[in-house]
Symmetry: C2
Subunit: 277 residues, 2 copies
């Protein structure tokens, strides 16, 4: 008996979602994973809801074709605008996004009820974090700040240094000024965990920092358990993690290593065309 040995599908617009995969793999060592980065069309963060929904449907269709037992949307923008579309389309396969876990963790962490969320422009404009937080605590005050430059800094591997520190001060300084400042900061973009040290340096030690990669891994573990979907160990046949990208396996491997926290062999990244899938 090895439980449900089918892999878990993880989907992102690019490589940032590898921070979620990293947290998943650390928490769920018995599971296998199929990761798809839609690198030909990244970033999603500046695109409209309709466009992102269409892209997310195409991308996750490929994962379903790989026989996954669950889909994790490791992309805040896609979680914000496409979660319900995907849940309806792929029912009964469970689809889990990163917004609700991050929002829950933010609500659990705050003492003064004031929560700051940093994300891409698309996520902020969609307001999904604010809605998810208010569903759990209707008197919470949510301040949202788009941080597009953080995405580029993370992809360049500038996890610290003067440009990253100056950007963090520019974005975060004003957020935490004054007597009514938030006491909690939710990293609402999967790129941002790699900048956590610089962000911590900027905001100080008093602010609770919520990493939605970690909180999503907890939610996935719970859903596997409650759905009877957990694996009890893979057989060793085949790789534990398979990677698909819609463009440039070379760049996926190189930049992805920053987010996964270990090297990725370019030959392990399979190029796919979603429009033909």
């Amino acid at each position: 008996m090895v439980g449900d040995s089918r892999p878990i599908g993880v989907f992102d617009s690019g490589m940032g979602g590898l921070t979620v995969l990293r947290a998943l793999a650390a928490r769920l060592p018995e599971e296998r994973f199929v990761y798809l980065g839609d690198t030909a069309r990244l970033p999603y963060g500046t695109k409209s809801a309709e466009t992102v929904q269409a892209y997310a449907l195409q991308a996750t269709r490929l994962l379903l074709g790989e026989g996954v037992k669950m889909v994790v949307i490791a992309c805040n923008t896609a979680s914000a605008v496409a979660l319900y579309v995907l849940q309806e389309s792929w029912d009964p396969v469970p689809v889990i996004g990163v917004i609700e876990p991050g929002a829950s963790a933010g609500v659990a962490a705050t003492k003064n009820g004031r929560i700051a969320v940093i994300a891409t422009e698309g996520t902020v404009q969609g307001g999904a974090y604010a809605r998810a937080i208010h569903l759990q605590r209707d008197d919470a005050q949510v301040v949202q700040q788009p941080c597009q430059v953080f995405v580029a800094l993370a992809e360049e591997g500038w996890t610290d240094g003067p440009a990253t520190l100056a950007s963090a001060q520019h974005y975060l300084g004003p957020l935490f000024e004054g007597d009514n400042a938030p006491d909690t900061l939710v990293l609402g973009c999967t790129h941002f965990p790699v900048l956590a040290n610089t962000i911590r340096q900027t905001i100080g030690d008093e602010i609770a920092l919520v990493d939605s990669a970690e909180t999503t891994a907890v939610a996935v573990a719970d859903a596997l358990e409650s759905g009877g979907l957990a694996s009890e160990g893979h057989t060793g046949a085949g790789k534990t993690i398979r990677f698909f990208a819609t463009d440039s396996p070379e760049r996926f491997a190189r930049v992805g290593a920053i987010f996964l926290g270990r090297s990725i062999d370019e030959s392990d990244v399979e190029l796919v065309d979603l429009l033909k899938a």
Copy 2:
């Protein structure tokens, strides 16, 4: 007699090409323009040559449908990998890219034969600037530096300030160290002219700075003249510049204003779907 009053088509992956449109409009006040930003699929700079060629063909097909007399590829990445494909496909309509004009200006500016080019990753990897420079001066030494973070800084409107200055020092400092340093810097991405002041502050006054938007406008003026395509004044019927975008006219108008150097009314930006065009 008003010469050839058909508009000039200008195409970019997004809004950065508006620096080229700005230079064109300033130099050619008699001309009308149709600008298309493929914002649904930006950035091109991290995508493969095959993908960019396919996107560029779709995008310019729309411009041809608008009756343009010439196509300007106001995008370094697309110029680098798709110029010849577009020239063949749309012959006899002239297609002009931004690489050759920038390379020519770099060769004209250098005294010591050493030229630095900063661009997106895609442009650098393609090596088009180095090839174009060597065609004109085979003993030139070309140093290329990808500057992806500059793209995000420009789009955020951080044309100066500590994060932009620190990024410029990170990228450019090492390029101009030592006795064999280049004496010329080509801005090989249409986003970069808006960062010119910070770049100048970083490299000092001794280095020649080549803005390929300006040099492309000169090349277009020459091609209009030699091809008998110049307008002798538009009639006033219709707008001088029409804007098309493949996603989010709101963002196009807001971010585009940084690059065009004047405000853009969101209602003047027409949303188009290239896959249906």
